[in-house]
Subunit: 78 residues, 2 copies
Amino acid sequence: MPAAGRDTGMFIQEENMCEANVYLVKEGKEELVLEDISILRPEKDELYLQNIFGEQKRIKARIKEMNLIDHRILLEEG
Amino acid sequence: MPAAGRDTGMFIQEENMCEANVYLVKEGKEELVLEDISILRPEKDELYLQNIFGEQKRIKARIKEMNLIDHRILLEEG
């Protein structure tokens, strides 16, 4: 969850604190897919994920639940 | 985006800053569906939304794009 720019002031902190970690729930277990995502976009049968470091990932899954206060997005195989 | 507990300290601020506003995109226009949501959960052909004030809403729509840094979740009619 710590993000670039954390110590450069309140404004930057606010901008970067809202990323979430994405987990794939598989047989009751959570596998981390990508940390600190800022963008999630469904594309056909995939989800496109992008994090605050510019990393991108596509995964064949669907959203099971998002909890933004807990910074968690759970996926299940689609 | 302002949330309960905002002035009670840094920890509370972090906990409450990550909600997002949900908009339905309809004919190119964005209609606000619910502000400050913390939970989003797909349920059959609907999305269940809950915000930090405990308000709940169900809407027949699908996710078009989420941007957590901008605190925006865009939906389209499903």
